[in-house]
């Protein structure tokens, strides 16, 4: 069991999301950086979809009420366990009574704390992710608060195995991802349904602008500022399904990228969609970050997931090998 000692707003229990219930109006929720959550679970030998804690406000403190293995992945940050430094992208064993303090990231926005056996909260519609708006999943469908106690699942026969090793984070280890140049994060997108309705001037503006992720951004969506994309002739769209990563353009012209907690439906013209291989990188971009879009084809977007999947597969194989030594 773990007990939350300090948690500012917006820290929640998440797994890889609630899939298959959009048709009931239920948004997917799930980790904003699914690669980090899956990696933490792989380090611990968990199912990659096991639930962990997404920490996006700091400091965050918890106490282990029993011995447990845990990992910290996601944003580059400093944590301490019983006063000693714990490295990110590392799994460690905590003793009963140890206090874990997760500090502010130096780079990135979200830290994932995962635990051997995963956080054991009830599965709702196939997922343990917190759905804040509807108030279910996680702990009572809400953000974590001091005094919350969560059960950790069992790790059969793992108790005396090794849990003191780490891996290179994906932004270092994954080849082929566009680098951050001059503080601008390149995000690869595919054109979406209404791209062609925008004039060539507006299309060029979309690609050339260095967009700022505004302060009014959260797990629901990122609002971008820095320019306006205006249609020559406004279109009336009928309400339709959308997925995380879609870049919509409301009439005021500043694009919005829908993220994990996004509504299941949208009705604004769709300029583009962030490819799956870059969605986790966007999930680590804090408000104030600058991003720019690069276009890729469907085939390139599919191919871009290969190194991400390879990274997770190798990480799991290495961790399993190491733990068995």
């Amino acid at each position: 069991m773990i007990e939350i000692l300090t948690s500012a707003a917006f820290n929640t229990i998440q797994d890889l999301g609630r899939h298959g219930a959009r048709r009931f109006g239920v948004s997917t929720s799930g980790a904003m950086d699914p690669v980090a959550l899956a990696a933490g679970n792989a380090l611990l030998g968990n199912d990659e979809n096991a639930a962990g804690i997404e920490i996006q406000t700091f400091p965050f403190r918890l106490r282990f009420q029993a011995d447990a293995a845990f990992a910290l992945t996601g944003a580059d940050h400093v944590s301490t366990l019983g006063g000693s430094t714990v490295r990110p992208w590392w799994c460690t064993r905590a003793r009963a009574g140890d206090i874990l303090v997760v500090g502010l990231p130096r780079r990135g926005a979200r830290v994932y704390a995962t635990f051997g056996g995963g956080i054991d909260v009830p599965c709702v519609l196939g997922s343990r992710s917190t759905h804040l708006r509807a108030g279910f999943g996680g702990i009572e469908g809400r953000t974590l608060q001091a005094g919350d106690v969560a059960l950790i699942g069992s790790t059969k026969g793992n108790s005396d195995r090794r849990f003191d090793f780490g891996v290179a984070p994906p932004d270092v280890a994954i080849a082929g991802a566009p680098p951050v140049e001059d503080g601008v994060l390149r995000i690869r997108v595919m054109r979406a349904g209404e791209y062609d309705l925008f004039s060539q001037t507006m299309q060029a503006r979309f690609w050339s602008t260095k967009w700022k992720i505004s302060a009014r951004s959260d797990r629901g969506g990122y609002r971008l500022s820095g320019n306006q994309l205006i249609l020559d002739a406004p279109v009336e769209m009928r309400s339709h399904g959308v997925v995380a990563g879609v870049v919509q353009v409301p009439p005021a012209g500043e694009p919005i990228i829908q993220m994990s907690d996004a509504n299941t439906a949208g009705g604004y013209p769709k300029m583009a969609a962030v490819i799956q291989a870059d969605l986790w990188r966007l999930g680590q971009a804090a408000p104030g970050s600058i991003i720019a879009f690069s276009e890729v084809s469907y085939q390139d977007a599919v191919a871009a997931m290969v190194p991400v999947n390879d990274y997770l597969a190798k990480l799991r194989a290495t961790a399993n090998l190491y733990r068995a030594l």
């Binding site: 048709r23 009931f24 759905h131 309400s239 399904g241 959308v242 997925v243 439906a265 769709k270 490819i275």
Partner: protein, 231 residues
């Protein structure tokens, strides 16, 4: 060989195909051609029924005369998939609104129907007439979207259309019976809401623990019954 075949029968106007577009590699949006009507909506329901059984499709998310397919893995041949959907669209008969009939008892007006007076004023009708017209209508659930269990209902009498509010109510109760533009609905969550509340129903629109979490499903019909009027 000539491509002109004077003996070929005249087939009249060729029906337009749906617009197919991708939202990344894991979602495809299929939009019916033409104006909104229940016939096109019924064809979308029928299409969604068939494609949601395809192994590649994780789910088919119905919208207003459109459906979004969500994939677990990117389809290998996306052009072929699009072509099969167009072919299916032209071949498949539409589905009627043949779902269940849901009767919803409504307390019209009162504390939770606090916008009833504004609707009456906007429409130029006495509040009792607004209630009568709303409760006499028969509505069709086009889609479930936007929040868990929220049904997009078609069939609101044009006499009681009412634009959404420019400033949303901050804490509209779940169960509020609302009018927004040319649509009516039942709020599924207590949350900020820009629609106009004309009454309230003590019906759980959504329960994640139920085997069928959403009370309304596309193709269902809804009737509002006057439970009580509080003016």
């Amino acid at each position: 060989m000539s491509i002109i075949q004077p003996s070929a029968p005249l087939v009249g106007a060729i029906e337009k195909s749906p617009k197919i577009s991708l939202i990344g590699t894991l979602a495809m949006l299929i939009e019916a051609p033409g104006e909104f009507d229940l016939i096109q909506q019924g064809r979308i329901w029928a299409l969604a029924d068939v494609v949601s059984s395809w192994p590649i499709v994780q789910e088919a998310v119905i919208g207003v005369t459109n459906v979004m397919l969500v994939f677990e893995q990117p389809p290998a041949d996306i052009d072929m998939l699009g072509a099969s959907i167009v072919e299916l669209w032209h071949r498949l008969p539409g589905r009627k609104a043949d779902g269940k009939v849901i009767e919803i008892p409504v307390v019209y007006g009162g504390e939770l129907g606090l916008d009833l007076a504004a609707v009456a004023k906007h429409t130029g009708l006495p509040a009792r007439d607004v209630i009568r017209i709303h409760s006499e209508g028969e509505y069709t659930v086009c889609a479930i979207a936007s929040s868990p269990g929220f049904g997009y209902l078609h069939g609101l009498d044009p006499r009681i259309h009412m634009p959404r509010k420019s400033v949303p109510s901050l804490n509209m109760q779940a169960g509020s019976v609302t009018i927004g533009g040319m649509q009516t609905g039942v709020a599924a969550l207590t949350s900020p809401n820009g629609w106009n509340a004309i009454g309230w129903a003590s019906v759980a629109m959504f329960d994640p623990q139920r085997e069928q979490p959403s009370l309304m499903l596309p193709g269902d019909r809804v009737k509002f019954r006057i439970d009580r009027i509080e003016l």
